[in-house]
Amino acid sequence: MNRPSLLWKAYIAAFYIFLFAPLVVVAVFAFNASPFPSPPWRGFTLEWFTGTGAVFPKPGVLRDPIWLTSIGNSLKVAVPVALLAVIIGTINAWVLERAQFPGKTLLAMMMLWPLVIPGVVLGISILAFFSRLANGLEDWLQMDLDLMRPGLGLVVLGQLSFILTISTLIIAARLRKFDRSLEEAAFDLGASRGRVLRTITLPFLRPALVGAGLVALLMSFENFNTTLMLVGSDAPLPITMYGQMREGATPAINAVSLLVMLAVGAIASLFALTSKSQA
């Protein structure tokens, strides 16, 4: 088995071509000087990134308010999701790894649960529950509770419902490797509880905190299924892309995809770097 056959090697090569073909096609046609995202090749252009709409009927991504607001909406969701995922994930990790209480195994199982629920079901259940909650509260308080209606706030909650599981697992795995005697040593040398946390525990957890934050950022930015059910009038990027893909789009969608790929590549390499320093 140490000397792979030619057939096997050919299969590996074909596999990687298969893997990258769609991405390469998307990237290349972002530069095609054609009003349609399809062959034939009509020459190189940057119009679909920076065009004003003078050459082609539609402007490039960086000048089109539809794309720019979508990206903005995605960030409005992804940044709070990532921050909350790290903060709550750290607290959850402490509960899982450090606290002792009856029913802990049950809680640990419950925390894994969101991973086996289809995203669409998560979306509709949160939508239905918060609508009922909002109806009840609005009748009682006699005021509008827009935060509980479909919109970016609800999208944040919907994405958190399963991203929290991921961030908790990442941070708990790191906390499990922590040598408790480091904390005791710091305490023994005269540090207060707060100082121990600040100077010993959090610096140790930092790679996992950064990693969990980046993963949460990516998962939030790309989530489609749950977001689709909870979105209101402000569409994040995947929702806008979905709409354009159904209606038939200009190569601007290729351009925005390429930008997404570059951003994701940058975040993924950051993540790879932090997990390398973790080892």
């Binding site: 073909a21 096609v25 509960v95 995203g119 689709l228 997404v260």
Partner: protein, 287 residues
């Protein structure tokens, strides 16, 4: 001392309890209740099994459900077959930098949004797409060829989306196989096929189960790929849920469909774990 400690514990557990309670447990209780309520008059609902009866009596609904389940199993099987040689190569043949590169290259496309990947397949497969264009350019076809909007395209897109989640747990499981065990298998007279069947595959079983379960769950719950690559012929069950909730605003019916999808996904996960004697926790950790 103890009461202060208890207060700390309570405060630390509060986020987890709020999260699981408000975002997971209560919402599921809500759709469970919703799925059993029937509309008897505008804005008047009462308890009943009508939504579930509707599912069984309307052929479109249960056929879509069955189709989703069967195609998801098929997609999982194809993904496993395609991924196994790759995982075996990464885990047991490739060394050092090549190994790291191969794994990284596998990971890369999957960090990119599902929609971008689907866009790529649409640009390749559609009538005005690259493959159709190349076929005409080389003279293999005289007419534009539509490769999109059929079951093949849907399966292709779903398999593509599932590959990574199969390769990583498989490679992890194969990685832990001691090379001397494989050598002992050959030494004792085993052929390539026997060693693969009797030693390598049984060892990789936890990875196979983990990968299959994850791929199945992702496939059953997928929305964008079947809708965009299958078009009108996509007929995926998640689409029915979306239609009931968002288009028709018939939430009780949509909730019943949601419960059925959850049931299907949980049943297959449970059966997979049961058949192979694996635990959910260890399986999820594999991935």
């Amino acid at each position: 001392m103890t009461s202060a400690r208890r207060l700390t514990l309570f405060l630390m557990m509060a986020p987890a309890i709020l999260w699981l309670g408000l975002l997971i447990v209560l919402p599921h209780v809500e759709i469970l209740i919703l799925s059993f309520s029937e509309r008897v008059a505008p804005r008047v609902y009462q308890f009943g099994f009508g939504n579930y009866l509707e599912f069984f009596t309307e052929p479109l609904y249960w056929r879509t459900f069955a189709r989703t389940a069967i195609m998801s199993i098929l997609v999982t099987a194809i993904t496993l077959l395609l991924a196994f040689p790759i995982a075996l190569y990464i885990a047991r043949v490739a060394r050092g930098r090549v190994k790291a590169m191969l794994l990284l290259l596998c990971l890369l496309p999957f960090w990119v949004s599902e929609l971008v990947r689907t866009l790529g397949w649409m640009m390749l497969l559609r009538e005005t797409g690259l493959i159709s264009y190349l076929l005409r350019a080389t003279g293999l076809a005289t007419q534009p060829v539509e490769l999109l909007y059929n079951d093949g395209a849907v399966i292709l897109g779903l398999v593509y989306g599932g590959l990574l989640f199969m390769i990583v747990p498989l490679a992890n499981a194969l990685e832990s196989l001691d090379p001397s065990v494989v050598e002992a298998g050959y030494d004792l007279g085993g052929s390539r096929a026997t060693v693969l069947r009797r030693i390598v595959i049984p060892h990789a079983m936890p990875g196979i189960v983990a990968g299959s379960i994850i791929v199945f769950m992702l496939t059953v719950g997928n929305f964008a790929t079947p809708v965009l690559l299958g078009g009108k012929n996509g007929l995926w069950f998640t689409e029915q849920i979306y239609a009931q909730f968002i288009t028709r605003f018939n939430w009780p019916q949509g909730a019943a469909f949601g419960m059925l999808l959850l049931l299907l996904s949980s049943a297959i996960v449970w059966a997979g774990l049961r058949l192979t004697g694996q635990g959910l926790g260890t399986t999820l950790r594999q991935a």
